[in-house]
């Protein structure tokens, strides 16, 4: 037998395992639904937004992001549950554990797949917002601003993504991990957004947004944005470490 190739194939394999699970259609549908919010909002009541002062991107994010973020975080949670349900339901994870590759790469492969589909969802949403700025506001130079804003949103989504995967990998029963995740999301919506410490809760972070004039964003990024970005990175690393610890410890039970 030849050596382990899982590292090279990890992304492909974890992607392939999701065939016929509804994972990809769910993300595509979620992305389109979320992207429809700003379009419908502007199509139905354009006067409410067009009369406002400031960057069109900022106006659109202020009006729509909370709902869009809620869909994104629900997608992440559902996706994580689907991913590990395929492993646990047929006991496939037992077979995977007896194959010659580092078990951590299974988790990282899933995280990569999920991050990729989340990037696609955010791109769909960004395209929708960009369309709104051009079609209704007549602004054609919003692309850099929109990309920075959605890049930040992607970063803010990572802790929730990794935390959801960690929960799903620990709980064999999909409904338990789904239940824990839903409680966490509703808890996040109840937390005050102006409290920095509370906003670090992994499921609250996706509701953060960065928007404003591009020259201001590039010249002076608010300190909170840096702090939130650093916290997102640290939390993501922490959840990866916790998964690796769990993989070591579970052999004892």
């Amino acid at each position: 037998m030849t050596g382990s190739r899982h590292g090279k194939n990890g992304l492909y394999l974890e992607g392939k395992k999701l065939k016929r699970t509804g994972f990809y259609p769910a993300f595509l549908a979620g992305g389109l639904l979320s992207a429809a919010f700003p379009v419908i909002n502007l199509a139905v009541r354009p006067e409410s937004f067009l009369s406002l002062e400031g960057s069109p991107f900022h106006i659109l994010m202020q009006a729509n992001w909370q709902l869009m973020a809620m869909i994104n975080v629900l997608l992440v949670l559902t996706g994580a549950c689907i991913m590990y349900h395929t492993e646990h339901s047929g006991n496939a994870i037992l077979k995977m554990s007896s194959l010659p590759f580092r078990e951590g790469s299974l988790f990282l492969g899933k995280a990569l797949v999920m991050a990729s589909v989340c990037a696609v969802v955010l791109l769909i949403e960004a395209a929708s917002v960009l369309f709104c700025t051009i079609h209704w506001f007549g602004e054609e130079g919003m692309l850099p601003e929109v990309l920075i804003g959605f890049g930040f949103s992607f970063l803010m989504l990572l802790p929730a993504l990794l935390c959801s995967l960690l929960i799903a990998s620990v709980c064999k029963n999909m409904w338990v991990s789904l239940g824990i995740g839903v409680v966490c999301i509703f808890l996040a919506t109840m937390l005050p957004k102006d409290d920095f410490v509370l906003s670090l809760f992994p499921f609250a972070m996706p509701f953060q947004e960065i928007s404003g004039e591009i020259h201001k964003l590039l010249q002076q990024v608010p300190e909170t944005v840096w702090k939130l970005s650093a916290a997102a990175g640290a939390e993501s690393a922490l959840f990866i470490v916790l998964e690796f610890v769990f993989l070591k410890v579970r052999r004892w039970f």
Partner: protein
């Protein structure tokens, strides 16, 4: 360390769960190129021992060596040499039999032809495009066996591989297991709770009861041991049952 004759050796291997000792200081010697039958009643600790050999469970005490490699330092290296079927068959229900094997093939870095060869060996070729969740129990068992045989590993660990198979299937799989050492130059560690089944496949057997090894040797050794102990020797099943009952009696639990 193991000697060249034995491909698997366990020394004082134990596993405890919250005060319950599932495996109790067992020594195991599996000769290279043989079929080793691991025999014991339900709950004797066969699956736990096999899980330890696959690194799925950490031993509470003792250690084991596989082909000169010690666990846990060489876990991945050891697993590269082992094909396994543990407890119930493990599969992705949303994938076809062929796709399930293809995932394992890619992890092992094998050529595409390995999948069709494995499917052929276990007689699943005509059902390869059916979703694994729609397989019957026997077909799932065959799929698990195909996954273990993929890449013709030098060691096969099979936990009750004939579970769920019909009589014809049992006969086929038994014959396949019996032929594996000669066909693929491999060693097979196979468990069962039926001596009648093991004696048709194994060159050497280990009898386990309540986590302890009661006997290890060839079937002839078992017969000779039965005679010296005064057990009924009409057939080996009786020797096995007498041995287990005596052990249970010593522990104060008559079966």
């Amino acid at each position: 360390m193991s000697n060249d004759r034995n491909i698997i050796e366990a020394h004082q291997l134990s596993r405890s769960y919250a005060g319950f000792r599932a495996v109790d200081r067992i020594d195991l010697h599996v000769p290279r190129g043989s079929v080793y039958g691991f025999l014991g009643p339900n709950g004797a600790g066969k699956s736990t021992t096999m899980k330890m050999l696959l690194g799925l469970t950490t031993p509470s005490e003792g250690y084991f060596v596989v082909d000169g490699k010690k666990n846990p330092e060489n876990r991945v290296e050891i697993l590269k040499e082992i094909g396994s079927l543990i407890e119930s068959p493990a599969f992705y229900g949303n994938l076809t039999g062929e796709e399930n094997l293809d995932i394992i093939r890619r992890i092992l870095g094998l050529p595409k032809s390995a999948v069709s060869q494995a499917l052929d060996l276990v007689g699943l070729t005509q059902y390869r495009r059916r979703l694994a969740r729609n397989y019957s129990l026997g077909m799932k068992q065959r799929l698990g066996l195909a996954g273990a045989l993929l890449g013709k590993p030098p060691i096969l660990i099979l936990d009750e591989p004939t579970n769920g198979l019909d009589p014809v299937g049992i006969h086929e799989i038994r014959a396949l297991i019996r032929s594996l050492p000669a066909q693929f130059d491999c060693t097979v560690l196979v468990s069962s709770h039926l001596l009648s089944e093991i004696e048709l496949m194994a060159d050497r057997i280990g009898i386990l009861n309540h986590g302890r090894i009661l006997f290890e040797g060839t079937l002839e050794d078992l017969k000779a041991y039965g005679l010296t102990q005064g057990y009924p020797t009409g057939n080996l099943e009786e020797v096995f049952l007498a041995m287990v009952n005596e052990d249970n009696g010593r522990r104060g639990m008559i079966r």
